[in-house]
């Protein structure tokens, strides 16, 4: 069992400041819905749940529609391409948190066939040229692990035809 350890004491003007770290191991059951979503990603399929009452497709899926409180069971496959709703380019670095080195971009992407946005990383992109409304495509991780980064990131789609 690893938990708190006091490892350093700072002193300033006779006042002590103790340091410590709380380390507690966690597991989180994903549940049937998220487990099925991740099973889909293994096959490079993005799955959502449709709410028949609200007529929306929720991606990533969840068991209960927050709007009408229905149990959702109507699985649909949505596209792996979609539209960038909003984004930010992060310039500061937080190595323990960020999965990639700064500068990098986060975006919210509404996939074709989905009515809700997925928050994710944007990669293989000219981060100075990002614009809301541009189309992005999911890039799947080579060896899926069953977590959110089984989509490694979304990359801009070259749209030569549209200049």
């Amino acid at each position: 069992m690893e938990n708190e350890t006091t490892f350093e004491i700072q002193e300033k003007d006779g006042l002590l400041v103790h340091q410590g770290v709380i380390r507690v191991p966690y597991t989180w059951a994903a549940g049937e819905v998220a487990s099925r979503f991740y099973a889909g990603l293994r096959e490079k399929k993005v799955l959502g749940l449709r709410c028949p009452a609200c007529k929306v497709v929720l991606v990533p899926p969840k068991k209960v529609c927050h709007r009408c409180f229905s149990d959702l069971t109507d699985w649909v496959e949505v596209g792996d391409e979609g539209v960038l709703q909003t984004f930010t380019v992060v310039h500061y670095s937080e190595p323990d948190l960020h999965p990639v080195e700064a500068p990098f971009a986060y975006g919210i992407i509404k996939l074709d066939g989905a009515d809700t946005g997925m928050t994710h990383l944007i990669g293989e992109a000219d981060i100075k040229g990002l614009k809301a409304g541009m189309r992005l495509k999911a890039v799947f991780r080579h060896q899926p692990q069953g977590n959110y980064l089984d989509i490694a990131y979304f990359k801009p789609i070259e749209e030569a035809n549209h200049g």
């Binding site: 069992m1 690893e2 938990n3 708190e4 006091t6 002590l16 103790h18 410590g20 709380i22 380390r23 507690v24 191991p25 966690y26 597991t27 989180w28 059951a29 994903a30 549940g31 049937e32 819905v33 998220a34 969840k62 068991k63 209960v64 927050h66 709007r67 409180f69």
Partner: protein
């Protein structure tokens, strides 16, 4: 004077050691749906929600915000309250004050925990003061064990007296389909179970469970329409005392005595043994089921073992305690004390199934947590 308030619906999950099939939001949702079903209400009828758990047991910050997908709080008022093990009691009183304030008509309290998802003892040990006590604090069992050792010496009580409490609660749980541990045990089984911290043995102690509970409170005018026999809240009280663990008077139990005195006074109770028909008590160890009855003024100092031996607190006794099986059989921490309130309400509402005590008009529920933080609620079939 505030708005008269009653409990009109109770829902809980089937508590167990590990719910791998659902995430936290889904677990909460099960309890919420059962409570709504019990009260024959829909989410639209709920004006506000309060939720609670222990942060370091699941590592989800802003649980109130995260819970929306399970609790149904989308575009509703929700707030989080938490006080450690007593969280469920804190939740019940929070929902009660929401209604009693006159600002909300129907309010749902939700307590939940997935203890299986962290190292509970590692997390709980960080409740000790980081500068003075954290390095050596070893959890709640030590002080309780020492307390009972002293009690035995002073009043001639035995380990078997505590074991009888464990047997009562565990065997009552056989009547409760929602209970986590449902196994018939004997005093011998308790005595033969491994010693955790003498004189407390494994079967004297509470388990860790995954589970959730939701309780719906409603204002006078609505409550009578929702439930045929609402459980009216007559009083709620809380008391605690903490600076450092070493400061607490383990023998005199001042906070339990203060809570009990205050809640009885507010509800007009003079003789709890005679006036209360059933109790759902937060007893983390069977030894507490011996000693704490005295600090709650149910009987005089040193008399509790005799009443236990006479069966006064058994299902067919004068004052049945923990018909549900109590905390010794089920302990999803953030929900545990709310389950006490829910079970007490079910007894008043005459909906407790095979654990029903006949003719319950007054019920009491307690919560215990932090460093001797006690909460208590008195429910009655009649309006305050």
């Amino acid at each position: 004077m505030g708005t008269r308030t009653a409990i009109v619906g109770v829902g809980q999950t089937y508590h167990t050691s590990k719910r791998k099939d659902v995430n936290g939001q889904e677990l909460i949702n099960e309890a919420v749906r059962r409570a709504l079903e019990d009260a024959d209400l829909t989410l639209k009828d709920i004006d506000a929600i309060v939720i609670g758990n222990m942060d370091h047991f699941e590592a989800i910050n802003c649980v109130d915000c995260w819970s929306v997908d399970g609790s149904g709080a989308f575009m509703k008022p929700i707030m989080k309250v938490t006080t450690g093990g007593s969280t469920g009691g804190t939740l019940g009183s929070c929902a009660y004050y929401h209604v009693a304030s006159g600002l909300f008509d129907v309010v749902m309290a939700i307590g939940w925990e997935k203890n299986s998802e962290s190292d509970t003892q590692a997390a709980i040990s960080t409740c000790a003061d980081p500068i003075l006590e954290r390095d050596f604090f070893g959890g709640a069992i030590g002080p309780n064990a020492a307390e009972y050792a002293m009690y035995m010496k002073q009043y001639g009580a035995s380990e078997e007296d505590a074991a009888m409490v464990a047997v009562r609660d565990h065997n009552n749980a056989l009547n409760n389909p929602y209970a986590h541990l449902r196994k018939h045990i004997t005093v011998e089984d308790v005595m033969n179970s491994p010693v955790l911290c003498w004189p407390i043995k494994l079967l004297d102690s509470c388990p860790r469970s995954d589970g959730a509970c939701a309780v719906i409170y409603a204002a006078e005018g609505r409550a009578e329409k929702i439930a045929s026999r609402p459980a009216w809240v007559h009083a709620s009280a809380v008391s605690h005392d903490y600076v450092y663990f070493g400061d607490y008077d383990w023998e005199a139990m001042p906070t339990l005595e203060a809570t009990a005195s205050r809640v009885y006074k507010r509800a007009g109770i003079v003789n709890p043994l005679k006036e209360i028909d059933v109790m759902e008590l937060y007893l983390p160890f069977s030894t507490c089921g011996v000693i704490w009855m005295e600090h709650m003024w149910v009987c005089g100092r040193g008399e509790s073992p005799r009443l236990i031996r006479e069966g006064v607190f058994d299902m067919d006794g004068e004052l049945p305690v923990n018909p549900s099986g109590g905390v010794l059989s089920t302990n999803p921490i953030g929900a545990t004390a709310l389950i006490r309130i829910g079970e007490a309400a079910l007894q008043i509402m005459n909906k407790a199934g095979s654990r029903q005590v006949p003719n319950v008009n007054t019920a009491m529920a307690t919560a215990f947590g932090s460093c001797y933080w006690f909460e208590a609620t008195i429910l009655r079939s009649g309006k305050p």
